[in-house]
């Protein structure tokens, strides 16, 4: 058996793959949080619940209407994103001028309500979501076995993250977004409808969470608490990367997923806490986060 640093290579690469998978979800979710925070100045604590709603939407689409994985990957984010838009118009828009704390409390309350409703109607046991046939099976790479679905998750997440980064940092619409993050009053006085932009940004961030939820459905079971389990780690990722930094959210998401995976191989006892240890160190050394700009 081949070993690296005394560890069987299959175990090492296996954990690395799990780390990359987790990192894909960390990146997608912290990216949405960063986009929302930048534009709305709101720490979206309902992000985990919205991720869960994506998975639940995919599950229900399959159960009720027979709509499968591929259409659900588009339909679920659209439906959950529209739900996000309703929340922004009816609730969040009144909080922009207040302290961050109010937005955090409101979205935390929303998360509890959504999860409570989920438990009420779906129960807290996980519901299985069957893999689409096209993504069953896997590849033997020689040093490890790579399931097709896992490979798809990593590639799709990387593509979506890069696409979002590109749209924000390199396009005209992205320039509007960045400018409105800095000085919404002036951008509006140039003739741009900033309130509509804010609403759509929230819808997009929520849709990203739902997209991650659909991708997660075949890997983890669909359960009402799947979001709250993940979101605490994702917030740690956002703190490490720096609030409001797009590239920071993506790189830190993938990076910390890998670090977590490697910790499972070399020192399994620390694998659940390593991200929080890193967060504590980063907060001590660079309070604004690795990629954050000091306000």
């Amino acid at each position: 058996m081949i070993t690296i640093f005394g560890i069987p290579s299959a175990a090492l690469f296996g954990q690395l793959l799990i780390g990359l998978i987790n990192g894909s979800f960390y990146a997608l979710l912290s990216l949405g949080l960063a986009v929302i925070f930048g534009m709305l100045n709101i720490i979206n604590f309902a992000h985990g619940a919205q991720y869960m709603l994506g998975a639940v939407a995919a599950f229900l689409l399959l159960q009720w209407t027979g709509i499968g994985y591929w259409p659900a990957l588009v339909v679920a984010p659209l439906v959950v994103g529209a739900f996000g838009i309703v929340i922004e118009r009816t609730l969040l828009q009144w909080l922009y001028k207040l302290d961050h704390l109010y937005g955090l409390l409101l979205t935390f309350g929303l998360a509890l309500i959504i999860e409570g409703l989920g438990r009420n109607y779906l129960g807290s046991a996980g519901l299985p979501y069957t893999l689409p046939d096209s993504l069953r099976g896997g590849q033997n790479l020689g040093f490890m076995f790579l399931p097709n679905y896992r490979a798809w998750v990593i590639v799709a997440s990387a593509v979506i993250c890069f696409g979002t980064w590109f749209a924000i940092e390199r396009t005209r619409l992205g320039a509007y977004l960045r400018a409105a993050t800095e000085n919404p009053t002036l951008v509006r006085a140039f003739g741009i409808n900033v309130p509509v932009m804010i609403t759509l940004t929230y819808g997009f961030g929520v849709a990203l969470a739902a997209f991650a939820g659909v991708m997660a459905a075949p890997i983890y079971n669909v359960s009402p608490q799947m979001g709250s389990e993940l979101i605490i780690v994702v917030f740690a990722v956002v703190v490490i990367g720096g609030m409001g930094s797009i590239l920071g959210a993506i790189l830190t998401g993938f990076g910390l997923g890998i670090i977590e995976g490697l910790t499972k191989v070399f020192y399994p006892e620390a694998s659940n806490t390593v991200i929080f240890v890193i967060m504590a160190i980063v907060l001590l050394v660079r309070p604004a986060g690795l990629f954050g700009r000091r306000a």
């Binding site: 005209r172 320039a175 509007y176 960045r178 400018a179 993050t181 800095e182 000085n183 009053t185 002036l186 951008v187 509006r188 006085a189 140039f190 003739g191 741009i192 409808n193 900033v194």
Partner: protein
């Protein structure tokens, strides 16, 4: 319907508040098409607030702001911009997270007839050299001011609100901005200018309104400047 006989901008009994504080107490003045009109006054007289109220970016306002005969007092600032008014704010408002080029092309074109990028570079040759600069705020103060003026010339807006464009700049750059304002006037732009420096204003302005405590207290044409110079010194406390 457009009212071609009236002034391009007619401000009547304009009132404005920031929270509890009542800043403008009934400001009235006109700007005719093709004119350069300057608001003079001490710090805190309400000049900048007047600009912001026209643009719709103060807390609360009342009275009347008519542009091309259209009432703007109830409109949002994005609609006011689309009507054809553009603001160059006192703090310049260059965006740090945008490159120089992105800053220059940020304000959308609201109607045809704006300057092309090349025409803007003719007015401000320095900007062309700094186009590759990654961050708008890395420019010098003068270059930032040129960028702040240049970017609103693309939009096709007919009325430009320039809030203290010479503040804190070197004399040679002030001269260049004066030259630019005269060139813009020749091209048919209408300009409302806020200035502390009336020596500079006298090189570009057709008429002046003097403000104090949130009201217009006097007005005169540029030709009457010499006759009014003592009064003006008194108003401005210089």
């Amino acid at each position: 319907m457009l009212d071609r006989t009236g002034p391009l901008l007619a401000v009547k009994d304009l009132q404005a508040w920031y929270g509890e504080s009542h800043i403008l107490h009934g400001v009235s003045f006109d700007v005719r098409e093709g004119e350069v009109v300057t608001l003079l006054g001490r710090n805190g007289a309400g000049k900048t607030t007047t600009m912001k109220s026209i643009m719709g970016i103060v807390g609360q306002r009342a009275g009347s702001v008519r542009f091309e005969g259209q009432e703007l007092i109830g409109k949002q600032s994005n609609q006011i911009a689309r009507a054809g008014i553009a603001l160059c704010p006192e703090e310049r408002g260059i965006f740090a997270s945008l490159s120089v080029e992105e800053n220059l092309t940020l304000p959308p074109v609201v109607r045809p007839g704006g300057l092309t990028i090349d025409q803007i570079f003719e007015l401000f040759p320095n900007l062309k050299e700094r186009l590759g600069s990654s961050q708008g705020t890395k420019l010098s103060g003068g270059e930032q001011q040129m960028l702040a003026i240049g970017r609103i010339l693309r939009t096709g807006a007919r009325l430009l609100l320039l809030d203290e464009p010479t503040e804190g700049l070197a004399p040679v750059i002030i001269q260049q901005i004066g030259k630019t304002i005269r060139a813009l006037k020749q091209q048919g732009f209408t300009i409302l200018l806020v200035e502390q420096n009336f020596r500079f204003a006298s090189t570009v302005a057709d008429r002046y309104y003097v403000m104090e405590h949130g009201r217009v207290i006097d007005q005169f044409a540029n030709a009457e400047l010499d006759a009014n110079i003592d009064k003006l010194h008194e108003y401005l406390g210089v």
